[in-house]
Symmetry: C2
């Protein structure tokens, strides 16, 4: 237990956007209490950003200033660098490396950086006995990193899944609430500041994939494998899919799932149906939620704001407190050389029930051709309905029993080529809640 | 960062009931991985229980045996005592004290012990630089202790609330699902092993009160004040209250709430209405869930199994890992001498909306007498309905606007004394979600 006569922990903040400013606000609001909690004084020494003069709603005049984040990281009056610049390369990476190289701790909210270079940075950190923490990089204010690396460490984890991107969840929730289509709601999200001008990273599923790759590593003790994540975005989801799903008791969410079976790991980001009554199914707006399944604990759920100034800064300061108290820990819950290479599970062998929406010409025998193909590909039908109230009476929705992903894909390809098929079928996995 | 050449952490387990056996099972299943995670070997040295011969589904022959838990706690080949005997006094307290007195760590699942003697035990622990951890004491497998003491430490917490007793939640869920009454479902819960033969601690709200007193301390940095918790159980809840609440969009849960305002703390355990659509409102069966509100993070929710062998043992082992890695930390998140005395908020000054169910004689003017009393006590009505399908046509349910607790109580007393009132009104607070 440290006492308050322990030396101060001197902090530098690289990046003074929303999150960086949030960190300054927390330290200004709760500084003395946080130092008590840390068992030593926390002192913000210096900051760096692109524009010193910009108004950020916080006074930065009392801190040393650096134009260059790498110069900040190299200052010998900094014991800990908070990196909130963003981006998987460039100044964020250079600053983190510069800090770790001299044994200074790094706290970051940068999922892209860690998903791309987490292994190398962790190696550098552990070699120098520096800490590298990233609670804020996954699900913002939700302490899922600490939960997986510490609180649930007694368990063999079999699956981690949830909603890791607030922008997508906002868009899907709004589409459902208002009956508007994807493009329309995306434009609204952009005007509200919930989606970027170039929304690809969010709506294409990449942001969630970065976060999932980090959660897999924590859950399974395997090295970060971003390339092993299969990624599909929400761009194809139509308002009618959302409505049909709701009529069957489901909601459509962009689900990130990592599961392990027989030493192999499956990592998927895709829009899925999930029971409306479940914790994930009930999640609205920009919230994030993660479900963990462990062999002793069973299912636990962690839910909260996945982004934004306050929540993200809250997670960063928690990491600072942890480092102030306990110093460096293994970055991914166990020493980096203990992480095993991740063995990818071929997705085509994985089974799940599916939602399949078809558009068929309205003539006798059309549906029989489709069901013939499904039967011939070993896919059995659990529910089938012509959805009421659709403008096109030949819209048919099928819920399958568990089917192999490979079989489903092959059936969809065959159905697409049928003459009676007016559009390629829309197939979505149903995630078990 | 510790290396694997660090000395072993030698563990003794006092109590081999369900939870103690669960700990042994986790160590047997995941021992080597846990030692890697801990950065040092974890070695189970000795155990103690009432009956050595009892079959617990785990082999205890390789461990040293003590009949007396205090003798176990005093063994010099034990660095950490896991206390899972239970009870606020007697052998559990004696064993914990004996371990702490010689500087050995204690990990416990014993909320009754800590709610009664947490301050004194923490003082002893911190004086001896021993750790005292209790993740398993609140909400079983849900890591809410760590969340409040570490992950959310950047925040000033304004409210912590949730469902902390699985037995009550099971009973209320079953009453709702089956339309059966309280006594009937309680008997079923007893036969299923979800409720004790003497169910008072659970259904009377005391178990939740113990847990709430610990959460308040963590959230607000105030000393444990079990006597300051106002406690009301679920015994008075009728199947019709549950049904009426559902018709208005609410569910009835045993809610434990601790909130802080102007330096004063309110601690309440009581059956409340809560919106059915909320995270807590959606909680079924024996699950627990806790919502935390912080000034920067906003609302976060933690949910999972609140009791049982696996979940509770999982939380205990997480505490063991934490002590193995980081040694002793302040027991309640900050040094015990920093905890301020808890200043109680007088509940009569607190405002909330209320559900009030009345049974009136069926004659003109009866309701006017009631509304006259409410109006005269400064309580305004938000909704009023004669609930359809009730056997008694004069059952009236009123949802009030925010009303002072003191005013509500005084109005209820006056209504009880009315000649037109056939039974005392049932008044339940509506918890804000």
């Amino acid at each position: 237990m440290m006492t308050e006569t322990a030396p101060a922990l001197r902090i530098g903040v690289a990046g003074l956007g929303t999150v960086g400013a949030g960190v300054l606000k927390i330290l200004a609001a709760h500084g003395p209490r946080l130092s008590t909690h840390a068992g030593r004084p926390l002192v913000l020494t210096a900051v760096s950003a692109r524009n010193r003069a910009k108004d950020r709603g916080v006074d930065i005049s009392q801190f040393e200033w650096e134009d260059d984040p790498v110069a900040l990281a190299r200052r010998d009056d900094i014991d800990l660098l908070i990196e909130v610049i963003g981006g998987s390369n460039g100044p964020a990476k250079a600053a983190a490396e510069a800090a770790l190289a001299r044994g200074a701790h790094v706290v970051t909210a940068n999922k892209a950086l860690l998903a791309a270079h987490g292994g190398a940075l962790a190696e550098m950190a552990e070699e120098k006995r520096a800490g590298l923490r990233f609670e804020a990089a996954v699900a913002g204010g939700v302490p899922i990193v600490k939960a997986l690396s510490d609180s649930l460490a007694a368990n063999a984890i079999s699956r981690v899944y949830g909603v890791l991107n607030g922008t997508c969840n906002f868009i899907l929730t709004e589409m459902e609430r208002t009956g508007r289509d994807y493009q329309d709601v995306l434009a609204e999200a952009q005007s509200l500041g919930y989606a970027e001008a170039d929304p690809t990273a969010d709506v294409g599923g990449w942001d969630a994939a970065h976060k999932l790759a980090l959660l897999s590593t924590l859950a399974f003790g395997a090295s970060v494998d971003l390339d092993g994540v299969s990624v599909e975005g929400i761009e194809r989801i139509s308002e009618s899919d959302i409505r049909f799903a709701a009529e069957l008791g489901y909601r459509i969410k962009l689900i990130a799932t990592a599961s392990r079976d027989g030493g192999q790991t499956l990592q998927q980001v895709a829009p899925c149906l999930i029971p409306a009554e479940s914790a994930i199914g009930g999640l609205d707006g920009v919230m994030n939620a993660v479900v963990c399944e462990g062999d002793f604990v069973g299912q636990t759920v962690f839910e909260g704001p996945g982004a934004g100034e306050g929540p993200t800064a809250s997670a960063i300061v928690a990491d600072v407190l942890e480092l102030a108290r306990n110093g460096a820990q293994p970055v991914f819950g166990q020493p980096i050389q203990r992480l095993t290479p991740l063995r990818r599970m071929p997705p085509e062998n994985v089974s799940a029930p599916y939602y399949v929406r078809l558009k068929l010409v309205d003539r006798p025998g059309a549906l029989a051709e489709v069901t013939g193909i499904l039967g011939g590909t070993d896919i059995s039908i659990h529910q089938m309905r012509q959805i009421g109230g659709t403008p096109d009476p030949a819209s048919v929705v099928i819920i399958t029993h568990e089917a192999r992903d490979g079989d489903l894909r092959s059936a969809v390809a065959k159905i697409t080529n049928l003459e009676v098929s007016l559009a390629p079928p829309m197939a979505l996995r149903i995630e078990r809640a």
